[in-house]
Amino acid sequence: MNADNSRKLIVLAAIWIVLLLAPYWMAPLGGYTALATRVLVLGLAAMSLNFLLGFTGVLSFGHAAWFGLGAYGAGLTLKYLALSTPLAILGGMLLGGLCGALLGTLIVRRRGVYFAMVTIAFGQVFYYVAFQWSSLTGGDDGLRGFARQPLDFGVFKLDILTNADTFYYFVLFCFALAVGAMGFILRSPFGRTMIAIRENERRSRFLGIPVERHIWIAFTLSCFFMGFAGALYALVNNFADPRGLHYSQSGDFVMMAVMGGMRSFWGPLLGAAVFVVLQDYLSSITVNWMSFVGLLFVLVVLFFPRGLLGFLQRSKA
């Protein structure tokens, strides 16, 4: 038990060291800091989805909607309400989270494939709204005309707009906050009931756990985290894209979670890293990258259903 604990601590330390030093080792490996920032944000999104998918066992296939809403929330806040990066993040998180909470009440009674189907369909509602409401959202072209703002702490300013490394550390700080909150929730009694529901819903119900309410809370929390990640993504690009709400984006998030390993906390981050880098690389060498991404989906499902981390843990055991 003690050896196990210290091993966990070592892994945790290794992850944070790798993340903290990313701007230094990315460049020599042929990457660039902005790619690391993107991985971090999409990884956070995949982890937020996995909070629901892997730890509550509820299959949402429309999570891109909350991600995209987060992005639009941040963009609209910066463009129309306040020139402040923290407020933009707050705005995005609230938009994604509140919409998710509302819709959650409609769908928590569904399970399995039916939950997936209803979440896909509802996710598309927001896609259409973003697509059609051109006067507010810029329609097909996406929302432009906003930029992240330097952080003003009174005594000093952090220039996250032009300095890529500073921005990376800002995103890493936000990532750490969100991931810390997720880890804290998963360790709490509530987090344990989430896992209990995943393992055996009927038994949890017999134990007196209000299953529907807990699934709704888990769904809503996951939507807030998703909105948070989406807001960060808008800041990364200084742009919000309607395709960020589309169900194919949801599929990518699910893929990241599955490819990294749904049952592990850090799996989706690894999945996101592999997915983003692979997609970046494939789309630079071939116009038929869609086929290869599709093939990746098929191969992962058939041969690595437990994901990279699941595969590693299994072969070690």
């Binding site: 998918l53 009674r109 509802f122 509602v125 709204v129 086929s291 599709g294």
Partner: protein
Amino acid sequence: MTLLLLFNITNGLIVGAFYVLMALGLSLILNLSNVINFAHGGFLVIGGYIAYAISPYVGFWGALLLAPPLTAVIGLAVERVLIRPLYGRDPLYSLLLTFGLAFMIEDGTRFIFGPQGKPVEIPAFLALPLSNELFFITGYRLFMVAVVFVAVALLFLLLRYTRLGVRIRAGTLDLETVAALGINVRLLRSLNFAVGIFLAGLSGVLAAGQLGLEPTMGTGLLMPSFIAIIVGGIGSLPGTLIGGLLIGVASGVTAVFFPAASEAVIYVMMAVILLTRPRGLFGEEGMMS
């Protein structure tokens, strides 16, 4: 105004007929095998392109007869190799696999046939409008609706009166008992999948004659088919039928009064249905959970 309304209602019915064909196939596969076939739109595209490829040799009628069964054969192969290993696992996996498959089919057809739309020649007498007044009712449109009607009728007869149909219906309710009675459930699932893909192939041929072919056309029909199933009630094929026609007409009528919302209206319908009748119009108790 009445003419415009009539025009859009007709349009809605025709589009709805496509939704119905797509959604019935999806629904068959979903009910029996618990698989959301994201690649269903892809199979529609395959059916359309098969028709495009063979129609110079066998003509439109030959293509109409041959393309759907050929699509079904491809569907059988896909089911056998890719989907069968996933039965009994978390539905997440079949969802992801067919999702990737849809990508591959869309990109593959674009690679083989090019991104431009391809026309499929329809017989000249079908292309003419029936009257000058009602210019929008071409023979082909009536013909499409008739074909859809016949296909749906045959499907329901198959399910009602044949041994295969009875087994499919029984399997939808309780697959375990069906298996315990000594019925080959693997074969049943394969045949059921093939029937669903046959319908997708048929809608592909019909759509090719009306709209021309594009690699992306399947994706656009997928979401309305999902909604047709949810509105009609999961687990009920008559529900899917009515759901498809309903959302087709609803979006057609909305196009008259508020064109921007013609796509959004079907989602609003779904939300209203889920709020007031969580099981859908004809859904059975317990099917949704």
